[in-house]
């Protein structure tokens, strides 16, 4: 039997001072950079393309293909932008990587920038994570001092500068065109496409935007080769990835594995649902991906397996909830998140998420009226497909999937508060002073 986990990006996370350059180099770090610089940019791009690496930030678009869209004859400078605005509820893989092994990312940035011909790269990290930002900035400084950055990287003739940029609190900046606006010093609101960033991105110049984990995967692909990478995973979902498990699970955390293991296997590796409880529902890829239930435990956790059951791999963030959890409460909190984070540009999203919150508040408080569940779905229908970006689709997905699996629980909200139907204190990890079940 093949091994279920494969530590690659996470391999050095537990090591002494893993974030320092000397520690990283002692583990073989920056070896891939030397290999890459000894090859042509086109060869490096081809290696990543042939490895079939797909974007790990949610959409799953082939990374090498995205790179190949950059017009090499465009006279403007080309830019590489790393999306480290990790904010999707449930998603918590990039932040530990930035903290434990920032050099993995920095090495990936240098190789990727070389492949696309960029001489300036940005690492955009959400602002609310101070320590990972300290570590990334220090790693960049160390890389400059060691000659991995700046003019004439390792004597190759290739020049590269990296600018580490802290965001200021906006989930929407994880959307790539909103991120570009933010990086230009504007409100983080999505842009209409086309033009796509590969043609007119940052400062209207050709720009590649990739997730932290995608770029961090590049050094391993270069060091060990595309055949090694494609020996892992499934037919269309190659390689390894970091799965993040949280919630009512015995051992929450980061599990790096070849793509395509089942949810049952992953949950087993994490020690199962917390003792004495059963799985009620889970998100496969963050709150924006439709929830699944215990009947989906045998689903393959890859791009295709999850699409087959009407959801998405997303950011591979499994939030696990047991039978004590009120799905009305979680849905409300998720929709409150989307309402708070809506950038306000598109009316269906700005107003629609507001209406969803009103309805869900009433259902949670047991003050819903007959027909409110249909009204929820009707509001979802007024939002979906009518906005610039996918933020609103996330809000709609968590409502429609929750109603699909647990409609009767929402209808309880016509008569009974959610905290009486499923007392909230039972879900907490510690004893809670309860006020009528409302923890």
């Amino acid at each position: 039997m093949t091994q279920p986990l494969v530590p690659v990006l996470t391999a050095n996370w537990g090591q002494e001072r893993s974030w320092k350059l000397d520690s990283y180099v002692a583990q073989g770090g920056y070896r891939a950079l030397r290999l890459a610089l000894g090859r042509s940019a086109a060869e490096v791009m081809a290696e990543v393309k042939d490895a079939q690496l797909r974007g790990r930030g949610g959409a799953g678009f082939p990374t090498g293909l995205k790179w190949s869209f950059v017009p090499q004859d465009n006279p403007n400078p080309k830019y590489l932008v790393v999306n480290g605005d990790e904010s999707e509820p449930g998603t918590c893989k990039d932040v530990p990587l930035l903290m434990a092994s920032p050099h993995t990312l920095v090495e990936g940035v240098i190789i990727s920038a070389y492949a696309i011909g960029a001489h300036t790269a940005f690492i955009y990290v959400r602002g609310e994570v101070l320590h990972p930002i300290r570590r990334v900035r220090q790693a960049v400084e160390e890389a400059y001092a060691a000659g991995y950055l700046g003019r004439d990287v390792l004597g190759s003739g290739f020049d590269l500068d990296i600018i580490v940029h802290a965001g200021a609190g906006a989930y929407i900046c994880g959307e790539e065109t909103a991120l570009l606006n933010s990086l230009e010093g504007r409100r983080g609101q999505p842009r209409l496409r086309p033009p796509f960033p590969a043609v007119a991105g940052l400062y209207a110049s050709p720009t590649v935007i990739n997730n932290v984990e995608s770029i961090a995967s590049v050094p391993a692909i270069i060091a060990r080769g595309k055949d090694w990478f494609t020996s892992m995973g499934t037919e269309k979902s190659k390689g390894f990835t970091i799965y993040s498990l949280s919630g009512h699970v015995a051992h929450p955390g980061q599990y790096e594995a070849p793509l395509g293991l089942t949810m049952a296997r992953l949950l087993e590796l994490a020690g199962g649902v917390r003792a004495g409880h059963q799985l009620k529902f889970f998100t496969p890829g963050g709150s924006s991906t439709p929830i699944l239930t215990a009947e989906h435990l045998d689903t393959r956790l890859d791009y295709e397996g999850l699409a087959e059951v009407g959801t998405m791999l997303g950011t591979k963030a499994m939030q696990i909830f047991d039978e004590t959890t009120s799905v009305v409460r979680t849905t409300l909190r998720w929709v409150e998140f989307y309402k708070h984070e809506s950038c306000g540009k598109c009316t269906p999203c700005r107003e629609g998420t507001w209406w969803l919150v009103q309805l869900l508040h009433k259902l949670e408080a047991g003050q819903g009226q007959d027909g409110d569940v249909d009204k929820l779905l009707s509001v979802c229908d007024d939002i979906t497909g009518k906005t610039f970006c996918t933020l609103a689709e996330g809000a709609v997905a968590c409502v429609t999937s929750a109603v699909r699996h647990f409609r009767s629980e929402f209808e309880v909200g016509y008569t009974t508060p959610a905290w009486e139907h499923l007392p909230y204190d039972a879900s907490a990890l510690f004893p809670v002073e309860s006020e009528g079940g409302r923890a």
Binding site: P89, R333, F337, A439
Partner: protein
């Protein structure tokens, strides 16, 4: 929710926090040092306006919030209108228009943290501080925010102090933590550095390192769940050789 909050009047004891009263903050904003720092940020980017987010972080590290004077200053340095800068400053939740406390407390109450006990942690913090979210205590020591998902779900429920992680929180731990901070005792983030102040954190976010990157662990326990299991089980990346190489330990797939 809550009405307009009064501007906190810092006591002399809070001066150790750094610049404390409004007058000295205003003077500091236009000091040579601040102007030099702001200009340095502008020079780091290919286009000046890209420096606006870091500049606003720096402004609030100096004056404890982003005032209209701070907005004007950024606008002037970047050749923008005050309205353009204000439009940005009010868009992002980390920029505070009213003075934040010496310590800015965030409690996550997005779905997962809320369910795991985050609501109870927030309630305990509110009781202990006597303020609602988006308010600052009268002594200027603490401000409170209900934060949305902070990318630490495997450490739920999560609380933030000056944007440093305080993992696996309980109401009792949160209260003890606030007591320690109020008493000026040294407090260490679960996965980060010793707690300083919100203003100092904002200066780091703006792009001026404080030399604390080497503090704290490489990772929290949950971050290592998978890698430790792999280590124990002998699972490595070498188990997947390219097809043309002999396998080290049996079949590769």
């Amino acid at each position: 929710m809550s009405g307009p909050q009064p501007d906190p009047v810092p006591s002399p004891a809070d001066r150790s926090a750094g610049p404390a009263d409004a007058r000295s903050d205003a003077d500091l904003l236009t000091s040579d040092q601040t102007l030099a720092d702001l200009r340095q940020l502008i020079e780091r980017y290919p286009e000046p306006r890209s420096a606006l987010l870091p500049m606003l972080h720096l402004v609030q590290s100096v004056e404890g919030r982003v005032s209209s004077q701070g907005v004007e200053l950024c606008a002037q340095l970047l050749g923008l209108t005050a309205a353009q800068v204000a439009g940005v400053a009010t868009f992002y939740t980390m920029y505070k228009r009213r003075p934040a406390g010496r310590h800015h407390i965030g409690v996550c109450t997005t779905a997962l943290c809320a369910v795991m006990g985050g609501d109870a942690v927030l309630a305990a913090v509110q009781r202990r501080l006597g303020v609602e979210p988006e308010q600052t205590t009268a002594d200027g020591l603490f401000s409170l925010e209900r934060v949305e998902c902070n990318a630490a779900c495997d450490f739920a429920p999560v609380m933030m102090v000056n944007w440093e992680f305080m993992d696996n929180m309980t109401p009792a731990k949160a209260e003890a933590l606030l007591d320690d901070l109020a008493a000026g005792r040294e407090v260490q983030s679960s996965r980060g550095a010793t707690i300083t102040s919100w203003r100092e954190a904002e200066r780091v976010l703006a792009g001026f390192p404080d030399g604390r990157a080497d503090q704290g662990p490489s990772a929290g326990p949950a971050s290592l769940s998978g890698v430790e299991l792999s280590l124990k089980s002998g699972w490595t990346a070498d188990a997947f050789p390219p097809p043309d190489q002999p396998t080290a330990g049996g079949e590769s797939r």
